[in-house]
């Protein structure tokens, strides 16, 4: 027994010096891997797994969808273009009113300033991809009853209930169109300023969007302001709330701040060049 104990101790001693069994020093089980070489000799070069007769033996892999002479499934029915032009349609990623209220409660958004795409993207929690046909945000009505903030917000799409919920709290909502290039700038303004290119002009909406953005019911930015103020009263009566008077509000200036139809940023004109390093603005000389 002595020699057995001696050898087991010896084995344990050896084992202690060896590395642990782990994924890095394992090898596959013998014969668990298929050989990727194809035999060519008398016994290896038989059928190579391709079978004995016909199409299979010749390894004739038919094209996808081909049904050996039948009318293929993909051609059997007439074409119905449900999704015609889907890759060209404008998308508006949703933000719910609850999400917006959380952003305001956790101070990710400053509600004492006008809110636009740049504010939402700068919160770090929302992002916009203009290259993937995203044309801005739509405000959806989830958590509408818990929305209590007084804001001046500019989104790209909003339903009637959402407009009512914002205006009930004494806020202002506006829907506005931005062309893809402007959206690209608004999604990350700091990066744009670092490029050293003057702020471009914002384009007007395309023909199929013009109707939406000139309608006072949608609070479109191209709508007649008088019609909008009239429609605010109509909506207040429809939803049964007293419309707070913006004229008497302490934040009158913030609530009425609006961009020009050609303007990208609040307070900054197109054509200006922002220098973040020297903290200067290059403007056109007025004579």
């Amino acid at each position: 027994m002595a020699h057995l104990r001696e050898s087991s101790e010896k084995a344990l001693k050896l084992l202690r010096t060896l590395p642990r069994v782990q994924i890095g020093n394992l090898r596959p089980n013998p014969n668990s891997k298929q050989n990727d070489k194809r035999g060519r000799a008398q016994h290896g070069g038989d059928k190579h797994g391709a079978g004995n007769k016909g199409s299979g033996q010749r390894q004739n892999f038919m094209r996808l969808g081909y049904e050996t002479g039948n009318q293929p499934f993909y051609l059997r029915f007439p074409y119905e273009p449900y999704y015609k032009g889907h890759h060209m349609r404008r998308q508006y990623p949703p933000i719910s009113m609850l999400q917006l209220q959380v952003l305001i409660d956790t101070d990710r958004i400053d509600a004492s300033q006008p809110i636009d795409i740049a504010t939402l993207c700068n919160s770090g929690l929302l992002s916009l991809k203009p290259a993937e046909m995203q044309y801005g945000f739509q405000l959806t009505d989830d958590g509408l009853d818990n929305f209590k903030a007084k804001i001046n917000i500019e989104v790209q799409h909003a339903s009637e209930a959402v407009i009512a919920a914002v205006e009930r709290n004494g806020g202002v909502i506006r829907t506005a169109y931005y062309d893809p290039r402007s959206l690209h700038i608004l999604a990350n303004p700091k990066k744009w300023f670092a490029k050293g290119i003057p702020i471009p002009q914002r384009m007007l909406p395309p023909q199929d969007a013009a109707e939406y953005y000139t309608d006072a019911k949608n609070r479109g930015y191209l709508a007649n302001p008088e019609e909008i103020s009239k429609d605010r009263l109509v909506l207040a009566q429809k939803y049964g709330y007293v419309l707070p008077r913006i004229e008497d509000d302490a934040d009158y200036e913030m609530l009425t701040a609006a961009k020009n139809a050609r303007q990208l940023f609040h307070g900054l004109e197109p054509g200006w060049l922002i220098n973040l390093v020297d903290k200067t603005i290059v403007k056109l000389k007025t004579t």
Partner: protein, 165 residues
């Protein structure tokens, strides 16, 4: 000629442009005169467009209409455990879905202290919601995570918030 016409039709000249079609640099006189404004009054609008470099600390408010609330409990409370908030000041309760939503796991992360006591508490809460039916849980003591079978994210998040976490 036609190419120029087509380009003028496009509302987005930047999309189809390349270095070949861009205008070469003109003599300086061809450009409009500009002035560099130091300390411009509009700089406050630029500052508003710069994102904060860190996640801001939420300022205390009288009410939180969204249902979010700041953390009230300290690390050394009587229950013996602590659930830290995430960097975005949220309660770390998540839903993991596997197999196309067929398996749903509720994950509570960032647990410090007596993780087994928290697991017992959460399990009793879930079993109460399931009318006394048993609930399978798994504890990863090392990483401070508790896995609970089923979707109880809202329930457990509200429970943790009510305890001040």
């Amino acid at each position: 000629m036609l190419r120029h016409f087509v380009r003028s039709l496009h509302t987005q000249p930047a999309r189809l442009s390349s270095f070949r079609s861009s205008q070469p640099v003109q003599p300086l006189e061809a450009y409009p005169e500009v002035e560099v404004v130091h300390n411009p009054p509009e700089w406050k609008y630029v500052e508003r467009l710069l994102p904060p470099s860190t996640v801001p600390e939420p300022v205390a408010k009288p009410t939180y209409p969204s249902g979010w609330q700041p953390q009230r409990a300290n690390g050394d409370n009587s229950s013996g455990y602590f659930v830290a908030r995430t960097k975005n000041h949220m309660v770390p309760v998540y839903l993991h879905t596997r197999f196309r939503g067929q398996r749903r796991l509720t994950v509570v992360r960032r647990v410090q202290g007596d993780i087994w006591a928290l697991e017992r508490d959460l399990r009793s809460i879930v079993e109460q919601a399931r009318n006394g039916k048993l609930c399978a849980t798994r504890v990863n003591e090392l990483s401070g995570q508790i896995y609970i079978h089923g979707d109880y994210v809202d329930l457990l998040r509200e429970h943790l918030k009510s305890k001040g976490f």
